[in-house]
Every structure is written in C-alpha cells, then in structure tokens.
Amino acid sequence: MSSYIVEAIKNGIFETLQMTFFASLLSYVIGLPLGILLYSTSKGRILSNRPLNLIFGLIVNICRSLPFLILLVLLIPFTRFVTGSSIGTTASIVPLTVGAVPIVARMVESSLSEVSPGIIEAAVSMGASPIYIIVHFILPEATPSLLFGAAINISTVLGYSAMAGVIGGGGLGAIALQYGYYRYQKDVLWTTVTLLIIMVMTIQEGGNMIAKKARK
C-alpha cells in the first residue's frame, strides 16, 4: 500500500470515530428523553398518557422502519439546511443521528421497562413525584441495562457511518468504497473492513465490560 493510502486510512479512522462519537452523543441527547417519554407515558406507568404515547410511538416506528440508505437520501435537503452541505464528515452526522434516535429511544424504553415495579411502588409510597422517581429510582436502577444498550447503539452507528460514505460521507466506509470498490484495490478494501470490524468489536466488548462493572 502506498503511503498516501496509509495516510488516508489513518484519516479515515479519525473521521469514523468523529462521526460515531458525535452522532451517538446527539442521538442520546434526543433519544434518551424520547425513550423516557415513551416509557413513562405507556399504559400503567407513572405518567401514563395514551394519546402522547401513541403519537411518539408512531413517529419512532416510522423512522425506524425506513432503511438507513433511504433515510440518507431523503435527508439530503435537511442535512444541507442544517450543516450547509450534504457531503463530508460533518454532514454525515445528521442522517446518522436521525437514524439512531428511534433505535436509542426504543432501547432506552426497553431498559427502563425492566426496572421492577416494586421499586417504583416503594418510591411512590415514599411520596416521591414522578420526575423524582424517574431521576432517582428508575434511571439508576436501569443504568447497567442502559449501558449494554449503549454499546449496541454506538457500534450500530459506527456500522452506519460506513454506509454514509456511500453518499459522500467521509471515514473508512468512503475509503473502502473509493479504493476497494471503484479501483479494485482489494488490500485497501480488506484493511478497512478489518479495521471496522475491530472497532465495532472493541466498542461492543468495552461497553459490555463497563455495563457489567456497573451492575451491583
């Protein structure tokens, strides 16, 4: 491999991590509250509200049922509006975030649902308000499960970021496509794929380890 390709791969690793980091962060900034909302407004929960639950549930389900590639294309005008461009690393963060939010929301909802109803009942019997119960009872109890979920979500975003390379995003995905697919440089293709696999596995396993540590 020539040195400029090695340079490009190094740069690609950095870009991939950058996209993954910011898209994951943003998807949790939006997805975590959304997941909490989905959980607490559902039937029999502390802020049970059927209309609200149906509306948010519907939005999440629609977004989640779109294949990521389609979402990428659909979001081009929106991405251009937000970042001023539809290509490049920064631009990719937009569709990655939009794609990850519904997954994060559902994952959070499911983690919170695992919290024992008895603990919530104990909190209610102490005279705690719904917000207090969410912050001081439900979230701490769900933390290990939320961390397991985060490991899955972040590695999914990393995988998606490679796909974002297809429509002009940066990162390892773009390199694999350019050199490996269009120019038939098999060594570059395999190198980038291997790197992606290692990165996904590191995140997944590292996340699991942290989650296990967190479980008391």
Binding site: I119, E121, S125, M126, G127, A128, H136, P140
Partner: protein, 337 residues
C-alpha cells in the same frame, strides 16, 4: 385513643378487559394510634388491596378512608405525596434500589422530604443503628441476606419519622428465624417509637406473635375484627375458625355423633379436664384434634371432641360447670376446615 385510620364502607372494584372484580366489599375498620394491627386472610382475599388504599396507592371505588381525620379521597396529587411521607411501607420483596448502597437507600425518603446532605446522612446512619446494620452501610443490597434486606427497608421506612408503618407480607419471604427477628424488631420499634404498625399476613403465627388487634378478611369482606386474644379464644366467623383451628383433624368415628369444641385460656389450660372427666364420671370422649398456642404470653388451647351417644348432655354439663367455653361443631365444618 386517637384514631389513625378510619375506613367507612370501603369498596374497591377492579375492571380488567371490561370484566369487573369486587376486591373489597363494604369494609369498615378503625386503627388506633400506637397499636399493632393485623390484617389476615387467605391469598387473594384482598389484603394487599386493602393496605394499598391506606396510602392511596389504590383509589377506593366507594366509601371513605380518613387518616387522622383527614379524608384521603379528597386530597390532590401534591397533598397525597405529603401524606405518604407519614405513612411508610415495607414489602415482601423488600424493593430496595439494587444499584445503590445501603446508606443511599436509607437516605432516599429524607431526600424526598428535602432534608439537607449532612443531616440526611446522620439521620440515615441513626436508622441503620436502630436496625443493627450500621456496619453494612456501604454494601449493596445484593450482598445482604433476606432478613438484612428487610432491616434496611425498615430503616428506610423509619428515616422520615412516619406516623404509621404498613407491612405487606413483610416476613413472607423469610425463613422462620429471620421472621422472628424481624417481628421482634417491629415490636421493639412499636414500643420505643410509639409507631402505629399495620401488618398484612396470611400466617396466623405472625398475628399471634405481635398483633394487638386483628381483622380477618375473607373474599374482600371483613369477617371479623377485634382483640387477638378474644378472636383466638372464641372465633365467631367461619373464616376466623379456619385460621385459628388446625386444618387436618381426625374423622369422627360415627356420622351422626355430636362434636364439641372446648376452648381453654391461660387459667384453665393447666388443668387435666379430660382425665378428670373419665375419672369422675366414667364418660369417654374421642379427641379429634387439639392444639395450643401462646398469644401475648398467655397460653390458649382448643380441642375438638366427639361425644359418645346418650351421654352428650352430662359431658357438656361437666365442662360448663368448670367454666370452659363449649361450642357445637358441625360434622361438615370439621371435615372442611
């Protein structure tokens, strides 16, 4: 005596998939300050439903519940939360935060009540001393035994200095030794802190051991309520008899013989009445069941006898002359109970 809870014709209807279920029917009760009040009944009788109406975890369908004269049904959400801080609760499954240390668990109600950091910790440590677990303050609940977990739950419940402690099957997940320790602790807290305690259980032994008064719930209805001693000595309702008397007596030898139940209290339990009967009168009886128990330090006993034909009145007269309580028992009751 100050009344803590007053229930007036309380009913609770659950509606599930359009099907109605009446879990409580016209229950009226009064619980006084400082007492340990038991609520006993078979599984599914409505005990948990009843206790959950006391802190409005469950709203009643009809009737009223007052707490120190205040109608619980009339309170808005904010006021209900305030009242709940005076009504602590412990559970069969302890319901501690698994992800928080023992100390942090005990501090929760104080935090909810807005007590400041340092004071919160001091108070929580004091409560852990009360339950004898100060050395476990930094442990996590998963590393404690069931009895220890319930102690932490008790410390947590006491932290906000409630007026009442509700216990829903608090000892049902514990072995007999731990049960006994927890009940001793509750009794102790009742005495030293003048705390009113409401105990839900399906076990007569729990009521026997620490309750002053007891209500018996049967299919959502109040079957009987009163002093534990008098209910043990002379249960009036079928439900109470089932709980008080043993469940596997011998069958009577004849289908149409008369059966009686003798009830002894502390004074008469020491005398050998059956031996006296045989010795003095020559009448012989068939003992179908007998048992004794100690309630509040006084021995109680009861015995079911099958009487020989033609001698019934003399035998009943013999026992009555000696001041024993004699009740007729139906064959059906004997077999079913």
């Amino acid at each position: 005596m100050t009344e803590v809870f007053r229930l007036d014709r309380v009913s609770k209807k659950y509606i599930n998939d359009g099907r109605e279920f009446l879990a409580l029917k016209d229950v009226s009760l009064s619980i006084s300050e400082g007492e340990i009040f038991g609520i006993i009944g078979m599984s599914g009788a409505g005990k948990s439903t009843l206790v959950r109406t006391l802190n409005r975890l469950e709203d009643v369908t009809s009737g009223t519940i007052s707490f120190y004269g205040q109608d619980l049904g009339s309170l808005n959400a904010r006021d209900v939360r305030k009242v709940r801080r005076n009504i602590a609760m412990i559970f069969q499954s302890f319901n501690l935060l698994q992800q928080r240390s023992v100390l942090s668990n005990v501090m929760q109600p104080l935090r909810i009540a807005g007590v400041r950091g340092n004071e919160r910790k001091e108070k929580a440590l004091e409560m852990l001393r009360v339950v004898g677990l100060e050395d476990k303050k930094d442990e996590y609940p998963s590393r404690l035994s069931g009895g220890q977990r319930q102690r932490v739950a008790i410390a947590r419940a006491l932290a906000s200095e409630p007026k009442v402690l509700l216990c829903d099957e608090a000892t049902s997940a514990l072995d007999p030794k731990m049960t006994s320790e927890i009940l001793d602790l509750l009794k102790d807290i009742n005495r030293t802190r003048k705390l009113t305690i409401v105990i839900i259980t399906h076990e007569m032994s729990v009521v026997e051991k620490i309750c002053d008064r007891v209500a018996i719930i049967d299919s959502g209805m109040l079957a009987e309520a009163g002093e534990v001693k008098s209910i043990f000595a002379d249960p009036q309702s079928e439900a109470a008899r089932k709980l008080v008397f043993p469940s596997n007596p011998f069958d009577p030898s004849e289908k149409d013989s008369r059966l009686i139940r003798l009830v002894f209290d502390g004074l008469s339990a020491g005398r050998p009445f059956i031996a006296e009967l045989v010795e003095k009168t020559g009448h012989k009886v068939n003992i179908l069941s007998a048992n004794t128990r100690s309630v509040g330090g006084i021995g109680y006993g009861q015995m079911v006898l099958e009487l020989p034909k033609g001698e019934e009145e003399q035998i009943i007269g013999f026992f009555k002359d000696r001041g024993l309580s004699v009740q007729e028992v139906k064959h059906s009751e004997q077999l079913h109970s």
